[in-house]
Subunit: 398 residues, 2 copies
């Protein structure tokens, strides 16, 4: 009995694959600074648990497949505040943004269809595409060009009759890039010209530290070709709630997404009530969190600039940066940091870059850093990274 | 821009598709008895919310992709109590049993591969198979033969080189059947002979009102060919928690399932803590609930027997029965009950049978009833069903 080819082709998460080494290091008494995972240290607004604790129904019953109305209304209001008018029936609550992305891929693509992405990209996009036998087709961006988009002709050249959508993450994980207005307009133009869908993962919308972020939802001409995926995970530091959602004004797509929702009955109820309450958080919360991340991004830049031979993307948003390391293989280096290195008992965990690329051989000397720890811890973590490089047998500047 | 063929081929849930009619009836002031959905009215054990309320971490962070240890340990202990020894690393927490089934299908089958099922079957199996482009191949059981399994040669004849697994639900939704020891042994023998996996959905294990239920997990020779899916939804009347899980001793499969788990990061945290606490519920809880359902199954039989021209499956377990109605089209009748009928202001909602069959034309005069309401309400609901039939223009015994 052999397992499916598609499951065997799925790669392990670059964010989580080194976890056993981190656990072993921690078991040895080392302190590990986790820059590998986008798990913010920011407290979840208290309204979340306050709302959850209020649940007194005797039976925790199934809810709407579509999503609980209180949450749908909260999401609608939040989007109205951003100038986007989504009706309740245009919004579908999902098990994290992951499920929203999965439903969008499944509804738009048949096996063998193609999705265009810019690499590096959020590694789980590739797992989701593989689950549904959809081909990702990667268009390169590079550390040398600060991960900016290529020209229109390069993108159009990648489009084939099998291309169904552009899968875009803005602000971007892992490189922290934000599309400029010119880039946005180009992407909208391409989607309309070739009648492609845009699947826009805007989970990091509130984390903008340089420039400004424009939502694809603000282009009315794109309405029928757009799916936005979003989540409370990062916005409200509630990753463990697993409450995401999908928005689209394409009614035909809505009808199909509802079938997907029905097939798994509903999303967790308590977490939906909590998530709805999160949207009553006063705007000062997000402003304060944003200011904190901006400070972290500055600290990060300052500290990374001190490391000889290390290049890094401009941390514009989404609390991630890609770094190009002066080593041959970032995964070996990341493993070595956990297994064989410490600075006064401390080490650091980073996510190897190759997992954020589709093209074999790309990103092998890169890594993603999530700056989700406070400035002091961040300074310490980057100092450890620098010291680790100096001590690493494979350090190229030796 | 056309949507995918696979999503368009997905059928709407027969359990939920008439919901708009029910809502309209309720808006008109009608009381609707819901026999369409397996949503128990039994209270969720209080320990669930007690445990949830204890959560005081400042940040609701991501958990283990695999599942929280406290829940894994609770599940392990529950299975040990049933004589099945699953290690923690053989258990994977999922978003409901639905996700467990999806992961199992995805990990075992490539597009075009076949899964054998007995029809009628739980309708969402078909949605899940369609999502992953897997072909369900149905083997008939019939109301005339009380939905018992056919002989070994009939099942073996359906096996092709593309057959990867048998997808089995025991106790069975929608017909309330329970496999006999002889049937179990036959299924195990077939799986081993043809090296097929058995995906055993044993969500209703505790709901047995006649005969006894044997788990596929008690056949040691089947260990490498078995995946069990399970959930707290029905067992503890916690459907809204969406906490399911998957168990397998096949290490290769475990490794692949972990990748699926990582691709969606983790399951909702609060609900996992609550679910773990559910397993500390004293055994008297399940015994009491079981006794209540047994009473309901007796009431149901008694009342259904009074309706002329109606045949029904023996309600052995899983709080469902299939009924064969003296009408041409059960969906038209079910819709009519909601739109045009009431008995002193009350009506009843049932799930049309065709959605539980794969073979076109089958089950059109059948419906599934979930006996998840108390005996008094159940008597009333079945009385309404009988009166509805008498009044229905398409009633065949007129």
């Amino acid at each position: 009995m052999s397992l499916s080819a598609r499951i065997q082709a799925m790669s392990e998460s670059p964010i989580r694959k080194l976890t056993p080494f981190a656990q072993a290091a921690e078991a040895q008494g080392k302190k590990v600074y986790h820059l590998n995972i986008g798990q913010p240290d920011v407290p979840t607004p208290k309204v979340f648990m306050e709302q959850v604790r209020k649940f007194t129904e005797p039976t925790l019953a199934y809810g709407n497949s579509h999503g609980e109305e209180v949450l749908l209304k909260a999401i609608r209001k939040y989007y109205l505040g951003l100038g986007m008018d989504y009706a309740l029936e245009d919004i579908y609550v999902t098990n994290g943004a992951s499920e929203a992305l999965g439903f969008a891929i499944l509804a738009i693509c048949d096996p063998g269809d193609e999705l265009l992405i810019f690499e590096p990209f959020y590694s789980n996009y590739s797992s989701m595409a593989q689950m549904y036998n959809v081909q990702l087709k990667a268009i390169a961006t590079s550390p040398e060009n600060d991960y900016r988009l290529p020209g229109e002709e390069v993108i159009e050249k990648a489009i084939t009759p099998k291309t169904k959508a552009l899968l875009l993450n803005n602000p971007g994980n892992p490189a922290g890039t934000i599309f400029t207005r010119k880039e946005m307009e180009m992407l909208v133009r391409i989607a309309l010209k070739h009648d492609l869908m845009i699947i826009a993962d805007e989970s990091y919308r509130e984390y903008v530290f340089s420039g400004s972020m424009i939502s694809f939802g603000t282009y009315p001409e794109l309405a029928q070709n757009l799916v936005i995926t979003d989540t409370v995970s990062k916005r409200f530091s509630a990753c463990g709630a697993r409450i995401g959602y999908l928005l689209t004004k394409n009614k035909e797509l809505c009808q199909q997404i509802l079938k997907c929702c029905q097939s798994r009955l509903c999303c967790p109820m308590l977490e939906q009530y909590g998530a709805a309450a999160l949207y009553s958080t006063p705007p000062e919360y997000l402003a304060k969190v944003n200011a904190e991340y901006k400070k972290r991004s500055e600290t990060l830049k300052e500290e990374l600039a001190k490391i000889p031979g290390l290049q890094f993307s401009k941390p514009c948003g989404a609390f991630y940066v890609m770094v190009k390391l002066p080593v041959d293989d970032a995964e070996s280096f990341a493993t070595w940091l956990l297994e064989h290195f410490d600075l006064d008992g401390d080490t650091v965990m980073i996510a190897p870059g190759a997992g954020f690329y589709l093209t074999p051989g790309k990103g092998v000397d890169e890594a993603r850093l999530a700056y989700v720890i406070n400035c002091q811890a961040l300074r310490r973590a980057i100092k450890i990274l620098g010291a680790g490089l100096q001590a690493y047998p494979g350090y190229k500047l030796k």
